[in-house]
Amino acid sequence: MTATKPVHDQLFRIGDDGEIRLLGGYSPSSGRHHFPLLPACPYTGADDVEPVELSDRGTLWGWTAVTAAPPGYKGEVPFGFGVVELTEGLRVITRITESDPATLEYGMPMQLVVAPIHTDDDGAEVVTYAFAPAAETS
């Protein structure tokens, strides 16, 4: 099995069961979540931020497809790109597993998944978080 490597070690956690969670922050005084984790609440400056794992479900708020490799990117194109609104009310910039914009709809349910980006020079598969359209039955 190919070794996998997260694109950044403080963005998300992949459990032994393969499930992924985004690592964000929550400020009790502001009542707001943010991602990724910051030293203070970005909305109020409060320093009571607690690390939290964010919801792995949300709804699609914006989407497009990237058709040419952006700077520093070594993976394949086209790939989906968009914004998912999590149940906490937080809008997260993310890759989308579906690269045909015509198949996606505003407000559709989305599920957090692990997505491969490219294989690095050491042969490890570099992975990141992404959202996929949630199966209708789940």
Partner: protein, 376 residues
Amino acid sequence: MTDVRISGIGLHPFGRFEGKTTTDMGVTAVRGALSEAGNPTFQAAFCATAYAGVASGHKVLGALGLTGVPIVDVEAGCASGGAALMLAAGAIRGGQYDTVLVFGIEKMPKGIIRSSFFEPWREEAGLAATPAYFALRAQRLMRESGVTKEHLARVVVKNRANGVDNPDAMFRKPTTTEEVLGSRVVCEPLHLHMLCSPNEGAAAVVLQRADLTSGEAVTLRAAVLRSHLPGSVLGEATPMSGIDDTDIPPPSTRAATDAYEEAGISPDDLDVVECQDTDAARELLSYEELGLCGKGEASRLVEDETTVRGGALPVNPSGGLLSKGEPLGASALGQVAELVTQLRGQAGARQIDDAKVGLAHTVGRGANAAVVIVSR
């Protein structure tokens, strides 16, 4: 308060110039502006640039034998020139200097702009895709303001038609909505011709205390720079996450509100506007953010042709960035040079009749938004 006037402008055309350096282009623009102003002695210089590198302003003034005064490079993304103007005008109003040289220079790499603003992991994950953020913003505008792809194409057609008459623009051929919509999709809903080209160029202005200038000089009524408030995930700050930003004013609105107050005018008083049209949707969003129309009304200004050259409020008579291309550090000062040319009645075929009050708007990475208001 001391009035600040613009006593000289200078431009190096915007485009692609193999073999020319930012210093070469800066020399052309600075010489032009100083010459128009009657070669006054200046006590400070601010050089706007994002990509030219260390002490690039010194290199331009060094080539002209004009060093010795403080020279400060100013970086505020696409609004760098507006930021430099704000600093220069403030120094004159505060009595520190009576004459300040402000110039902007840039030589952008080709293709999607690579920005150190994005952390390496965001690049590796493909999330440093600037046109994709533009596309998501365009999609939102279409959803919330009734904007269609045809409206976007008409913005391009308008600006490219204006660019035909601007000898300093990069693209001087008119286009059609069919041609725009027939160009390849870069990031749905944005087609290639709806996006401006990063490029090269330089612009310069000389600011002086009003009593040192002739009565004909254009007055700088306001030069305001603002950054973003947290919230918008699609704002130029491009955070990884955000919240419902319906009630959070974007930086362009904050800058415009303060600039109108500083100038003592309202949007109704404007005769001509140069605004950020990095992509066609950005221009329409700017209409709403600058208060040129109400929220959700941008498409109306396209449909009733308010913003074409013969309309009630012409926007981007220079051809905008869609015709000129965008040399980051020079673009805001290029807009100001256009407004001054319009207010002087020297814009030739692209002249707006009886233009007395103009507004220039830039917004970009940071987020940084600058609004400049000039009048005669």
